[in-house]
């Protein structure tokens, strides 16, 4: 039905968004790529020179890189595990009929709207602080030794904080998916004598699989860029105990002023994120057909 004229108008309406996004993506990425082959330190301006793959060799063989990679994986996998399993459990619970459903739903979703710096600082100080934190007070009341969460197990503590922020997201999406399940199918299975467990395993879980995959992929994209939570709690420490890839690149480029090394790290991060992105894009693309 589209005429020649409306096609031209359509293209005109589309072009600002396309051109801006293209520029936003290509210009900085090309610059990062270029910097990654330079010896370029902000403290020594005018000393830039071509170094080939030196920055990559240096970045990839740095023991901090291996730590950061492991930490990134542990953080992402840990948060995913807590949020998907917890999300499914919560979605099943909230899907049951009970009094005050609307209010409880609102309470559960709330953490998602708390800005990362607030949630990280509140957990760090008001809860995990080994002297005045709530957990320390509880431990003392029970006659136990207070546990220094961020000092002894920094990565695990950050995982808990980030999981608290993302649990609502997983719950909300899984609940939405659960509510789109045909209730007649469940009733039929119930009439045929299927137990609650087998109804969950053979009807609900397959139905949730798709939503769970979406949750995992989208969270992975966001979790790979976790930054504020680390910055305000541990600064990546002690040592590199809670340094992730994102944080390592930040330290290298903005704290050590090593633009070349930071850029090489940035490119490595882009490549890793792309591997995840390909899977996510396939899923969303498949959905677009229907």
């Amino acid at each position: 039905m589209a005429t020649q004229a409306s096609r031209a108008a359509g293209r005109l309406m589309l072009s600002p968004a396309v051109i801006l996004l293209l520029a936003w993506m290509i210009v900085p990425l090309a610059m990062t790529l270029y910097f990654s082959f330079l010896r370029y330190n902000l403290l020594m301006p005018g000393m830039e020179e071509w170094t080939g793959f030196d920055n990559y060799t240096y970045f990839l063989t740095d023991p901090a890189f291996f730590d950061a990679l492991t930490n990134t994986l542990l953080l992402v996998v840990g948060v995913l595990l807590i949020t998907t399993v917890g999300g499914i459990a919560l979605a099943l619970l909230l899907d049951q009929p009970f009094w005050g459903q609307g209010i409880v739903r609102v309470l559960v979703i709330a953490p998602f709207f708390v800005m990362p710096t607030v949630s990280a600082l509140v957990w760090k100080n008001m809860f995990m602080n080994p002297v005045n934190g709530l957990f320390a007070h509880l431990a003392k009341a029970l006659g136990l030794q207070p546990y220094d969460f961020l000092g002894v197990a920094p990565l695990f503590s950050i995982t808990l904080i980030v999981a608290w922020q993302w649990l609502p997201f997983a719950t909300l999406i899984l609940l939405t998916a659960l509510q789109s399940l045909d209730s007649e199918q469940l009733e039929a299975a119930e009439m045929d004598g299927a137990s609650a467990l087998s109804r969950f395993r053979h009807i609900m879980l397959p139905h949730l699989a798709r939503a769970a995959t979406v949750v995992i992929l989208i969270q992975t994209i966001f979790l790979l860029s976790t930054f504020a939570e680390i910055l305000v709690t541990t600064n990546g420490g002690p040592g590199t105990a809670s340094t992730t890839l994102t944080y390592l690149v930040y330290v290298q480029s903005l704290l050590q002023f090593d633009v070349g090394g930071g850029a090489a790290g940035g490119i490595v991060a882009v490549i890793l994120a792309n591997i995840v992105a390909i899977f996510l894009m396939r899923m969303i693309g498949r959905n677009l057909e229907t």
Partner: protein, 276 residues
């Protein structure tokens, strides 16, 4: 799904669900409580905190000592500014993709999505240097530009899924009745598109308000929004529990309220229409 549940089962579920809900919400509740306590009372054991005197003094002190309102205004300007800019660019684009789809529309949508997957650290260095050289570092304009660009793909996608639901038969009917392009836009499409645009605006303001990678890396003090302001409490100042609580409560309250209105849009916006 209205399956019959026995009153006893319903009562048990109610107790469990409320307990879990309150546990998840508790950290937020706790900072609200602490924000109404004096500094000395806020670090006492929990039961003593609850029984100590209530005060609103801390709020006044936060504003006085750190000029809270200025950071709040920075957040408002940055989040609304970037959202409105993104809408202005995205509405025509989403419009044309939904109503005049071409052969490559799908590829274009997927490509836009892919730009969102680019990790921020990948472009941190160049953006930082460009901003430093153009004087955009620590300015609200600079942050509006960055947040507009990082949220543009989500805005286009959300609008596209909403516009796609407007039946094209309505357009044909309007044309049959002799409506010109201008009437079509003004009286037929716009009223139908407003709810979708409003939802997109809401979700995007929330995302921009809470964005904490670029706002932390590109501001120092002048243009610092609330994310950066709160981060400044990570220094030993964080030990001032009551003040940190009051500042935090003020920073999250507006978005918490907006967020509760946007639950449905959240699912749709953040899953790019993959879950509805």
């Amino acid at each position: 799904m209205a399956r019959a549940a026995s009153p006893r089962r319903r009562a048990v579920t109610t107790v469990i669900a409320w307990a879990v809900g309150l546990a998840i919400f508790f950290p937020i509740l706790w900072i609200v409580i602490l924000s109404f306590k004096s500094e000395g009372d806020a670090i006492r054991p929990p039961l003593q905190v609850l029984t100590s005197a209530w005060t609103t003094h801390t709020y006044a002190e936060v504003q006085e000592r750190s000029d809270y309102f200025r950071h709040f205004m920075n957040s408002v300007i940055i989040s609304f500014g970037s959202t409105l800019a993104a809408l202005a660019i995205a509405i025509p684009a989403a419009w044309s993709m939904a109503f005049v789809p071409g052969r490559r529309t799908k590829d274009l949508l997927m490509w836009m999505l892919s730009t969102k997957m680019l990790p921020a650290v990948g472009v941190l260095v160049p953006i930082y240097l460009i901003f430093r050289d153009t004087g955009l570092l620590d300015t609200r304009t600079g942050l509006v530009i960055v947040l507009t660009m990082i949220n543009l793909p989500i805005v286009v996608w959300m609008l596209y899924t909403y516009f796609k639901e407007i039946p094209s038969e309505i357009l044909e009917a309007a044309r049959m009745d002799g409506a010109g392009l201008r009437d079509e836009l003004l009286y037929v499409l716009t009223p139908m598109a407003v709810p979708g645009i409003a939802s997109t605006l809401l979700l995007n303001v929330i995302l921009a308000w809470n964005e904490a990678f670029w706002t932390l890396n590109l501001t120092a003090s002048k243009a610092a929004p609330l994310t950066a302001f709160i981060a400044s409490y990570s220094s030993p100042e964080g030990l001032f529990y009551a003040k940190l609580s009051a500042a935090s409560t003020l920073a999250i309250a507006p978005i918490l309220i907006l967020g509760w209105f946007s639950q449905k849009q959240l699912v749709r916006g953040l899953t790019f229409g993959a879950v509805k």
